[in-house]
Amino acid sequence: MDVQKIRQDFYLFKNDNIVYLDNAASTLKPKAVIDALNYYYERLGVNVHRGVYKLSYEATDMYEQARAKVAELLNCQFEEVVFTRGTSSALNLVASSYGMANIEAGDEIITSELEHHSSLLPWQQVAKVKNAKLVFVPLDEDLRITVENFKKVLTDKTKVVALNYISNAMGYITPIKEIIKIAHEKKIVVVVDAAQAVPHMPVDVKELDCDFLAFSGHKMCGPTGIGVLYGKYNLLQKMEPIEFGGDMIDYVGLNESTYKDAPYKFETGTPIIASAIGLKAAIEYLQRIGFNFIIEKETELRKYLVEKMQELDGVTIFNPHTDTGIVAFNIDGVHPHDAASVFDEENVAIRAGHHCAQPLMHCLKQVATIRASLYFYNTKKDIDRLIIAIKKAKGFFDNFI
C-alpha cells in the first residue's frame, strides 16, 4: 500500500503543507467519507423509521446498514450497537443507566489515573451520588496499568471496572483481556474506553468478552457527532433509557409508556443519520487500508519518531516505551504552550495541554505535555519536520535566556 496514494484521499494533504500529528484528538476525513455524507444530504435528506415513502426507506436502510457495519467490525450482534454522539456520551450512558441502577453505598468502582476525563468523570458522579468508592489501579513505574496491580485493588465490593484500552496520553495498551477474565470470575462488569483502540487495531468484543465498550467515529476517519456504545444484549435489555421521547417508544399512554428493545430505546429523537452513514464509509475505508497495514505503518513511524527524539538534547520523552503512535514529551525549560506557538508557525499541528487527563499530569508532575500522535497517513517526512520544529523551538527560546 502506497502512503502517497493514500494521502491523495485527504484534501489537506493535497492542498496544504500541513504536518498533522494530532490524530489522537481527531483524525482527518477522507473523500470517501465526505462523499457518503453528501450522498445522504443531497439525495436523501429525510428522516428515518418514520416515512412510508421511498426516500425514508432508503435513509432508514443506510442508517441500519451502518449499524450492521459496526457489528461486523466489532464482531457482535446488530442489536448490541447503540449509536451515540461519541465515546463521552456512550460512557455516560453506561454510568447514568447501568451505574445508577446497580451501584450501591459502599460498592467499589475500579478505574485509573490514566483515564481520559470521559472515562473517569461519569463514575466519579455515580460514586458521589451513591456513596460508592472510586478505587484506582496503582500505576507501575512507567505509569502503566498491569494485571498484577489490578488484582491488588480487586475486592468483594468491586462492582464495576472502567478502564481505557489504549491511553490517549501515554499510548499504552492495557492488558484488558486478562483484566476482564479476572473481573468476570467475580461477576464484575467491565466498561472499556476504546476510543484510541478501535481506530488503530482490530477489536473483537466477543474475544475480549467485555460488557461495554465505547469509541468515536471522528478518531477513525469518520464524521464528528457519532460514536458507538457496544453492550452485551442482556445487559442493554435490562437497562433503563436515560433520554425519553420520540422513536424510542413502543406504546405511549398518558401516565405510562413502554419502550422499544435495545438498541432503539437508547436512541430517542431523530438519530445521527448522516454521521452514522459517514461512519460506515469510514469503517469501509479503514478495512480497505487494512489494520495490518495501519499497525505496521504506525509501528515503523513510532520507532523512527522515538529514535529521532532521543537524539535531541533537552527533550524529555515521558513514554519512550509507548505501545502505539502516541508520544508524550516536553522541551526542557519551554512551556508546552510556548512550544506549540512555534510548531504552529512551522505548520505542524500537534497537541499541547493536559489531554483531558489531569490526574495523569499530576503523576507526571507536569502541568501539560506535548503529544505527537500518528496515523497510517503520516510519513517519515512529517516526523523530520516535527524534529526541525522542536529544534527551532529550543533555539528560539534559548535565544531569549
Binding site: D338, S341, V367, A368, F397, F400
Partner: protein
C-alpha cells in the same frame, strides 16, 4: 521561514518579565482583594492580589504557574497598574483587551510595558494566556466595587 511575528510576540521585555518577574509572591494580608483564576486547557494557574486605598491601587501581587506569556503578563500587569487610580486602571485594562484582540485601541493611553503584547493579536490561540492576569485584576476590582457600593 521568518520568525518576525513570533519575535514580536516574544519580545525581550516579555522574556525579561518571565525570567525576572516583578511583584511575584502572595501576601497574607486580608485587606488585599484576592482572585484565583485557572485556564484548565493549558494548566495556567494564577492568583492576583491588589490593595486599594482611597481608590488608588497601591499594591499588586501575583503568583502562579504557566507559560511565558501568561506569567510575564502578570508581572507586566502588576507593574503597569501599581499606583494607578481605579478608574485609570479600568481604562488601561479595557485598552489592553482591545489591543490583544487586534481591535482599535488608544495608542496615546499610558500602558507601560503592556504595550509589547500587541503581537498577541496575531496569535489568537494565545489570547487567553495574555489576558488571564488582567481578567483576575478585573475581578478583583469588581469585588472591591461591589463592597464599596454596599
Amino acid at each position: 521561514m521568518s520568525y518576525g511575528n513570533l519575535e514580536t510576540l516574544y519580545r525581550q521585555v516579555i522574556m525579561d518579565h518571565y525570567k525576572n518577574p516583578r511583584n511575584k509572591g502572595l501576601i497574607g494580608d486580608e485587606t488585599y482583594y484576592k482572585v484565583h483564576l485557572k485556564n484548565p486547557t493549558c494548566g495556567d494557574d494564577l492568583t492576583v492580589q491588589i490593595k486599594v486605598v482611597d481608590n488608588i491601587i497601591t499594591d499588586v501581587f501575583h503568583d502562579g504557574t504557566g507559560c511565558s506569556i501568561s506569567m510575564s503578563a502578570a508581572s507586566v500587569m502588576s507593574e503597569t497598574i501599581k499606583g494607578q487610580k481605579l478608574e485609570d486602571a479600568k481604562k488601561i485594562l479595557k485598552n489592553y483587551l482591545q489591543m490583544v484582540k487586534g481591535e482599535a485601541f488608544d495608542e496615546e493611553l499610558f500602558m507601560g510595558d503592556a504595550i509589547v503584547y500587541q503581537g498577541v493579536a496575531n496569535f489568537p490561540a494565545r489570547f487567553k494566556c495574555a489576558t488571564i492576569a488582567w481578567k483576575a485584576l478585573d475581578k478583583a476590582i469588581f469585588i472591591h466595587d461591589e463592597e464599596d457600593n454596599s
